[in-house]
Subunit: 335 residues, 2 copies
Amino acid sequence: MKKLLLVYALLIGTFMIYVYFEHFKEPAASPWDVQGLRGEMNETYVMVTFQSGMEYWRSSLKGFEDAAQALNVSVEYRGATQYDIQEQITVLEQVIARKPAGIALSAIDPYALTDTINKAIDTGIPVVLFDSGASGSKAYSFLGTNNYNAGVTAAHEMAELLNEEGEVAVITLLDQLNHQERTEGFKDALSLNYPNINIVAVEDGQGNRLFSRNKTQELIEKYPDLAGIFATEANGGVGIGEAVQLENNSGDIKIISFDTDKGTLEMIENDIISATMAQGTWNMGYWSLIFLFHLHHELTEPMVLKSRDLAPLPLYLDTGITIVTKENVENYFAQ
Amino acid sequence: MKKLLLVYALLIGTFMIYVYFEHFKEPAASPWDVQGLRGEMNETYVMVTFQSGMEYWRSSLKGFEDAAQALNVSVEYRGATQYDIQEQITVLEQVIARKPAGIALSAIDPYALTDTINKAIDTGIPVVLFDSGASGSKAYSFLGTNNYNAGVTAAHEMAELLNEEGEVAVITLLDQLNHQERTEGFKDALSLNYPNINIVAVEDGQGNRLFSRNKTQELIEKYPDLAGIFATEANGGVGIGEAVQLENNSGDIKIISFDTDKGTLEMIENDIISATMAQGTWNMGYWSLIFLFHLHHELTEPMVLKSRDLAPLPLYLDTGITIVTKENVENYFAQ
């Protein structure tokens, strides 16, 4: 009887010690003693976009969710439903009022949201920007595509498709910075590396399928030897594809487009568009959350932590571009 | 007696169930079911540099070690002791032969290491580059300073020091790309924003303290109104500081330097150098390991994982620049 009581006490003792060591370890001395990057499920990070129903955001949100699963934290998705600056400011203010652990924001406008972003940061809520930045704000980092480099990549792809010679046109959005940068990169890379490729026209397609189709028909008439067209956005690319089909010379004019919406991918499968530039949208979402997690848990350089005026995070993360052709297009349909 | 046996059995049962659920969970269905980013202590990542004893690497290595602690993995530090291309190739080959979980490399030369880097990647060892890249290689990412932007930052700081007017010189390394970029950024930002600041000279200081000191004395003689000098590297900065002291006009000529070695920091403390550009070296090391960990554990976009030809990681991470002045210099001594 006494022996059994002893065994009994011993077992309870062992169990208590085990539980103690598993769950009530001493608090970490340095923030990196965390033994694995792991948060709490009641720690909520919010992604905020505009035109929030758009297919384009799906992959960024997936990256954000995948990072949340990896880190054992929670995420929410909010956004202005329309392309409306005031609506996004209102949504952002509502999110701030709920004091989340961090906010990943794609800014509809580079200036209009600065005050609201700074308000969040001044009240201690970390903010990073992805896809579309707001460079004058106090946001800690920007994660997105280097658009100039994307244009350079498109130029090398075009040169390969044309065996480094021929007449080429660009259909773009002349007034938008991102599209100006894509066009510049494309033009610079061609003129620096491929003397036998000439850019005969840079036209505004207004981000519109029909308008881009008409522009392309005019270009084909004006430049009968036109060998390639670079579309800096997806609606234009589909319009160009339609024009080339209508003119019955599919395959003669090589088209390179941008992004991976369903219409573009189908035209790649049907040999109408040769290639499209896929942005690293999953990485934008994934690394936004990893960055926010580091800010929330103060897992940044010890010296920077002490001196609050210094930048704790990398300022810019280039999420890169991958070229989608008929060879790998099926991976993008699967998304 | 029977009652006690029951309690006994119950306790053992509870304990077994507890242990089972704590330690023998089902393997994760998706890579993000990991419930915290956490590796194993026998997982070893290696940092490889050149002139490996140099003070400059200390902060990058600290970031690498801090990330290892956060992720519960092991790290090692290797490097060519000299500024010797062949020695670094040999060291890198020795590291590859031991099949580490990943390699963070600062390349002594942008071309000479490409074959060795590609060999590592072809045998399944992830490689990222930090501080000095090798853009033609298969390495997954580059983490470092945007040198053009660093020059821009230095220009704005100089303009503030000079109340936006005066004669300015640059002492740089004319043949090295990083230094050309710093100089370009400095020149462009001044000419675009500050019409009353003139750059009167861009000279080669050969990365040498004495040579830069002599160059500066010549400049002061030739341009008696010289108001500011930007040094694109630290040895030059100290030499400029010495020259300005010798000419007995300390404080009249504002000096902006680069990096945070002890000599530079002391001159900031003594009001000889006004500011220096501190690179995000801790972030280079920290995020190199975080990136390598993601490659080793295949924690990248699901679609990219399927299709091995796509880039799994962000291509470039800009680790940023912070301005060190007398106000915050003590944080850098503490490092």
